[in-house]
Amino acid sequence: MSTGWLIGSAVIAVIVAPLIGGLLRGIDRKLTAHMQGRIGPPIMQPFYDVIKLFGKERCVAGKAQLVFGYAYLTLIVTAVVFFALRQDLLVVLFILFLGCIFLAIGALSVKSPYSQLGGHRELLQFLAYEPILLLAVVPIALKLQSFRIATIFESGQPLLPHLWLSFIALLIVLAIVMRKSPFDISSSEHAHQELVRGLVTEYAGPYLALIEIAHWYEMVLLLSILGLFWVVGSLWWLSIIIALGSWFIILIVDNISARLTWSWMLRFTWVAGISLIGSNILFINLGWM
């Protein structure tokens, strides 16, 4: 595939990803409302929210926080670009991690106790899902002998039948990144939480909008990684179905469970995630998958 084509697709990804992310958030809110017996906001609601936030008065708790906020957004966009350029999957993930760490440091850089606790919990959350995300790459590499995304596209065979255990582990990660019950501990989608959206308490107005957009990028990136599990020639559309399907499962789980505590989350994700991926790696090595 020509370099020009790749660069073009990266540009398109940077522009389209937040649009898809926002739209998914809108559909998410609508579907959640329907599951709760309500009508719910219009699908374009997230865009209204973000545009409105851009129109709000600027207010920042500390310059440092601002820097970290921008760094978070930039790094996430970079990760998306690297993904679109079909670069090394490990590089994409590490850039993503760095971005997330900046978000947590941003929250920790202000004095508000809610923000502090939120940042603290974000780090715990990070501790819970990053190992899983990183480990999930290993079976892919084992299967294809390469970490490059381009290889996955070229391999010509779907990964899901061999790596479905890792796929399930990634679903847990998706739920955490989307901040859904039972994992929404650091900054809840639901306002009625003990930390008052702890992580972003001190971001206001346009800066909150930036964080929101970065979240959209992050979600789309995660969904794309899930989609990688079925990118083969003629059935490429299945990858989109898989990504959206997993997204929908997360929504349902969100609606049938209460929020749990961070200690539980850490235990659960590590035990479930690592054992799933571990057995996946084992099976590949044994030649069963």
Binding site: S181, P182, N255
Partner: protein
């Protein structure tokens, strides 16, 4: 992480009302707690001395919007004792009906808030949807969704005729069916709810007695105190047995309230079916003189009014002890040692009603 002090409240989304809990945290474990109250003190006790004793019904009703009818009832019971008024029997049964209606809607409200504080939004929505059915009954019988304002000294102001009673009965059955089919199974079975509530906020029977806990808070710890047993209004005729759980944790308190909702529905239906024909209001002559106490069971526990009159139009003293006031000290036992994430659940488990407490 060093010790952090988190101001929990007075404005906080989990608490619909302002109470401040200064939580001392070590990492995420609560090691100390200091409730600070007084944000919505209005001075109703003093205002009651300034008003005509008949007007006080309406101000007492607005001590708390959730259990307003029971406040009015307690005031009226005391005022009637002081002016030696005999309330007609039909009015006494109607008072039971509206008391239980208030209790039902209060418990449902609380169950919803609990689900919400656990982050279980869809359950919150379902419970509040069921609650709307109760509010519809309130609006149909009393003319208002939450502040019924039907109780006055000497009886009640509105009657429920046969046709309406039939309709109410029908709606109550529909309501019960909804509880059975949607809410009760989730409350009982959902593992995430149990994980958040079972074993959280332990209050042993001895502690409950030592701290003078009342209402569902004490009944969740196995202390069977329920003032309805004294048989005020028409509770003696309707018949009543307190609901008790013994585990003493948040889940036990949840179950007490959930079971009481069922009990309330039964009591309401009984009150309507047993109601005799006759007057609903008698004329009140004379002015309050001497002293009186009146006690009732609010959704949150025992409510005590103390009256002192001097034979004039105004009361000399009105003292109100609300149930949450008696239950707040239990937080000092329940909170230390828990995780920050459990604070809302445990705080809510005593069903704090700050508007009552601070009057």
């Amino acid at each position: 992480m060093a010790r952090t002090v988190i101001p929990f409240g007075p404005q906080h989304p989990v608490l619909p009302e302002p109470i401040q809990l200064k939580l001392e945290l070590e990492d995420e474990t609560v090691v100390g707690v200091m409730p600070i109250i007084g944000y919505i003190h209005r001075g109703i006790e003093k205002a009651a001395e300034l008003n005509d004793f008949r007007q006080n019904v309406f101000i007492c009703e607005r001590i708390c919007g959730i259990c307003s009818f029971i406040h009015a009832l307690t005031y009226c019971e005391g005022a009637e004792a002081m002016t030696s008024v005999e309330v007609p029997p039909r009015a006494r049964f109607l008072r039971v009906f509206w008391s239980e209606l208030s209790r039902t809607h209060s418990h449902l409200l609380w169950l919803g808030l609990l689900a919400d504080s656990m982050g279980f939004e869809s359950l919150f929505m379902q419970i509040w949807r069921a609650r709307e059915m109760i509010l519809d009954i309130s609006e149909m019988t009393a003319g208002h969704r939450i502040i019924q304002s039907t109780c006055i000294i000497g009886g009640v102001r509105r009657d429920i005729d046969k046709e309406m009673a039939k309709e109410v009965d029908k709606r109550l059955l529909a309501f019960k069916e909804m509880l059975d089919s949607t809410i009760a199974p989730v409350l009982l079975r959902d593992p995430t709810i149990k994980r958040r509530a079972v074993g959280k906020g332990m209050l042993s029977k001895e502690q409950a007695e030592l701290l003078g806990a009342v209402g569902p808070t004490s009944r969740g710890s196995g202390v069977a105190i329920d003032i309805r047993q004294t048989g005020y209004a028409a509770y003696k005729e309707v018949g009543f047995e307190p609901v008790v759980e013994t585990a003493g944790d948040s889940y036990a308190r949840t179950l007490v309230r959930a079971r009481e909702v069922y009990q309330c529905v039964e009591l309401m239906r009984k009150a309507l079916s047993m109601m005799p024909e006759g007057e609903i209001l008698v004329r009140v002559d004379g002015y309050p003189e001497g002293e009186a106490m009146s006690r009732t069971e609010q959704p949150r526990g025992e409510l005590i009014y103390y009256f002192r009159g001097n034979g004039t139009n105004n009361l000399e003293r009105l003292k109100i002890r609300t149930p949450t006031f008696a239950n707040i000290p239990t937080l000092l036992v329940m909170l230390p040692g828990c995780e920050m994430a459990d604070v809302p659940v445990i705080t809510l488990s005593i069903d704090p009603c700050i508007a009552c407490t601070e009057r």
